[in-house]
């Protein structure tokens, strides 16, 4: 057992972090958010690096690596709060790879792998990232029972301006006859989407904690660093606690996606229940630990809070995932395999 990235995985993650540290600085995040536009060059660079296709099998033109590698990239994406259709497109790609027919895979995966096409994974009637611009949409019925594949022009997408201007969102609906049915398991498609969203949340939590630590070490009040007050220390300790909990659960889910499919559904609910809660609470605590400054537009911490709110809700939040975990636990005790 080795609960840790391999050297190769670590290297991918480290390279991503470095790249994003220069290409998605908080200044750039801010200017993109304030102008409500992505930096198209950033997306191009990510595509050149093969990120959209990292977990798509080589057979369809992808990198042939796993969900673990993809989760690592999305964690770094969350850390840098990068504005791009990466989460949406990779969630879509994973869903098609998971639940699509052979023909659907052949049609879309090569284009998604290069980033030539963007996509999204949406639950009908709910907010989905980068939906309005998506070339292809995997649409899950609102009772989570079935999935349809739609070319962008087959769906009806209403763009929604949300509280998170670092990303674009839309609500997808479609006529019952539109697009094609997907033959595979929508549950697994949703699970991968949920766990890579959790990975993004882990990055958001980690960055919120790092930014907060930097602030409280520096900022003085009552003649001493704010970070020397026990109340602030214990708040930061809990931020770490929640971040690491989300991380453990998310890494496990990513590993299960690649290597232990029987535990994917459970792992994904574990990850999303934990990361959605952590995302909302850690970013809220970060604002609080900043004091009044944390409530101002010019501090950067609010971007993380806002993205965390959207990510927490995407593909279901803490409460429904907890209920799924309870249902799985009940099933286990009644029929021990």
């Amino acid at each position: 057992m080795r609960f840790d990235f391999t050297d190769d995985q670590q290297e991918i993650k480290r390279t991503a972090k470095e790249m994003l540290a220069s290409r998605s600085t908080l200044e750039l995040v801010r200017s993109a958010a304030e102008s409500k536009a992505y930096d198209p060059d950033l997306w191009k660079e990510l595509c050149d690096l093969g990120w959209p296709g990292v977990a798509i099998s080589e057979e369809y033109g992808g990198g042939g690596l796993g969900v673990v590698e993809l989760a690592g990239l999305l964690e770094e994406g969350g850390y840098a709060l990068a504005g791009s259709p990466l989460l949406a497109t990779t969630a879509c790609g994973a869903a098609i790879q998971e639940a699509g027919s052979e023909q659907q895979r052949e049609t879309w995966l090569p284009r998604l792998a290069t980033g030539e096409a963007t996509g999204t994974l949406a639950i009908a009637g709910e907010l989905a990232p980068d939906a309005a611009e998506a070339d292809v949409i995997v649409l899950i019925e609102s009772d989570r029972s079935g999935a349809r594949l739609l070319a962008g022009d087959q769906a009806s997408v209403s763009a929604v301006e949300t509280i998170d201007p670092t990303r674009r969102y839309g609500i997808v609906t479609a006529e019952e006859s539109a697009g094609e049915e997907m033959p595979g398991d929508p549950e697994a498609a949703l699970a991968i989407g949920a766990l890579i969203t959790s990975a993004e949340l882990v990055g958001i939590c980690q960055r919120s904690l790092d930014v907060t630590l930097e602030y409280v070490k520096d900022r003085k009040q009552f003649g001493r660093p704010v970070g020397s007050f026990q109340a602030v220390q214990h708040k930061c300790a809990r931020m770490l606690f929640q971040t690491e909990a989300a991380r453990s659960a998310t890494y496990f889910a990513a590993w299960a996606a690649d290597a232990d499919r029987d535990r994917l559904i459970e792992g994904a609910s574990l990850a999303k229940a934990t990361a959605s809660e952590a995302g909302v609470e850690v970013t809220g605590s970060a604002i609080q630990a900043h004091g009044g400054i944390g409530f101002t537009w010019e501090a950067d911490i609010h971007w993380f809070f806002k993205r965390a709110q959207l990510d927490a809700a995407y593909l279901d939040g803490t409460k429904p995932h907890r209920r799924r975990l309870a249902a799985l636990a009940a099933r286990k005790v009644t029929s021990p395999a």
Binding site: E161, I163, Q221, F222, Q288, G292, F295, T296
Partner: protein, 378 residues
């Protein structure tokens, strides 16, 4: 124990309701700050004309000698009817009472009426970027120069500064004295080149607050409130008046928001989900407890002449509950709750300020621990 209102209290409420029914200005205009401000100014003028601008002020200064309970009723009714707050809320709640307590006859004569009529708007210059909530660390300096004081420094979290004619300013007049002894309290004229106002945009995108850059601004000595070195004590008077009454406005707003959430949950059927119902029940309990605790606080003040622990507790309860409520809205309302232009999204963001403004929750807990529970300082 008697939780009904007295005949006088009911009479007061009835008269106010009647007046509000006839004079309610309708919904506040949205979007443009200046338009909103003018709207609130007109509204205060209307309150003033009706004799409702500052019910808690003594009659001799244009108030109604209202009891604490009546003042609470006033804010509840304003909240309940969704009437706006008056434009000069800091003048009415802070500047007026502080000037009444510490001012000379000339000062009372000069300042009180224009506060009431909203002819002169006030803001509060206590907080500083470095000092935060720690008044004893104020760095803004005032130096005597003939009949004037010359002031230089920076203030922050000054709401309404862009509209204010006057600022309640705490500045250091004796840098040699121990930290809280070297302070004095001034009435600063904002209309001078030495005072620059920069709006502080908050995470909602609005700017309720400002930064104040003060560069050799001049204040005539006659505009000092209290004596030289009395700044700390005068400031305490101001702080004691903070939130008095306003708490009732906030708790009613919390109740209204909760009622809207329950309506929405009933409408879309989410109330039938027991997990949602339990979460709503929790917030229902906390909202009601906030209201009850606020009233208990008034009874304590009426009986003992000073606030009990309830004041800090109400603020804490209210802020925590409001944050829980707006967070739950995302589960109840659905995507709409996160849409930039929805009320729920605005409330979600605005609520983050609740545990920071008017004393952070951490400071409130310190105060409760040390002043209410008598726990030792380090």
């Amino acid at each position: 124990m008697d939780l009904t209102f007295s005949a006088e209290e009911n009479e007061f409420r009835d008269e106010l309701r009647q007046w509000l029914a006839e004079n309610h200005p309708g919904d506040e205009p949205r979007g443009d700050d200046d338009t909103t401000f003018e709207f609130r100014k007109d509204w205060q003028r209307s309150l003033y004309d009706g004799g409702w601008a500052a019910v808690q002020w003594p009659q001799e200064y244009g108030g109604r000698d209202a009891t604490l309970m009546q003042s609470a009723i006033f804010f509840e009714e304003v909240g309940r009817t969704r009437a706006p707050l008056p434009a000069n809320v800091l003048g009415l709640l802070l500047a007026g009472p502080t000037i009444m307590a510490w001012g000379t006859d000339e000062q009372k004569e000069r300042y009180l009426t224009p506060i009431l009529s909203a002819d002169e708007i006030w803001c509060q210059g206590f907080s500083e970027p470095e000092a935060g909530s720690d008044l004893a660390s104020v760095k803004t300096m005032a130096k005597r120069d003939g009949d004037d004081w010359v002031v230089t420094g920076q203030k922050v979290w000054t709401s309404g500064a862009q509209y204010a004619k006057w600022c309640l300013l705490v500045a250091r007049t004796d840098p040699e004295a121990p930290k809280h002894k070297g302070l004095s309290y001034f009435l600063l004229d904002m209309d001078q080149p030495g005072v620059q106002v920069r709006p502080l945009v908050q995470i909602t995108g609005e700017a309720e607050f400002n930064e104040l850059f003060i560069e050799e601004a001049r204040i005539p000595h006659e505009n000092m409130l209290g004596g030289e070195g009395d700044g700390w004590n005068v400031a305490l008077t101001t702080l004691m008046n903070e939130r008095s009454g306003l708490g009732f406005f906030l708790q009613i707003r919390l109740r209204q928001l909760l009622d809207q959430l329950v309506e929405e949950a009933v409408r879309n059927g989410k109330i039938k989900d027991p997990v949602i119902a339990e979460a709503i029940g929790e917030i229902e309990a906390r909202t009601e407890v906030t209201r009850l605790t606020a009233y208990r606080g008034l009874s304590t003040i009426e009986k003992y002449g000073q606030p009990g622990p309830e004041g800090s507790l109400t603020k804490w309860l209210w802020s925590e509950t409001n944050q829980m409520l707006v967070q739950l809205a995302a589960d109840v309302v659905g995507p709409e709750a996160l849409s930039a232009d929805s009320k729920w999204a605005y409330e979600l963001l605005r609520a983050r300020g609740n545990t920071l403004e008017g004393g952070t929750t951490e400071i409130l807990k310190n105060i409760i621990a040390e002043r209410v529970l008598g726990l030792p300082r380090k």
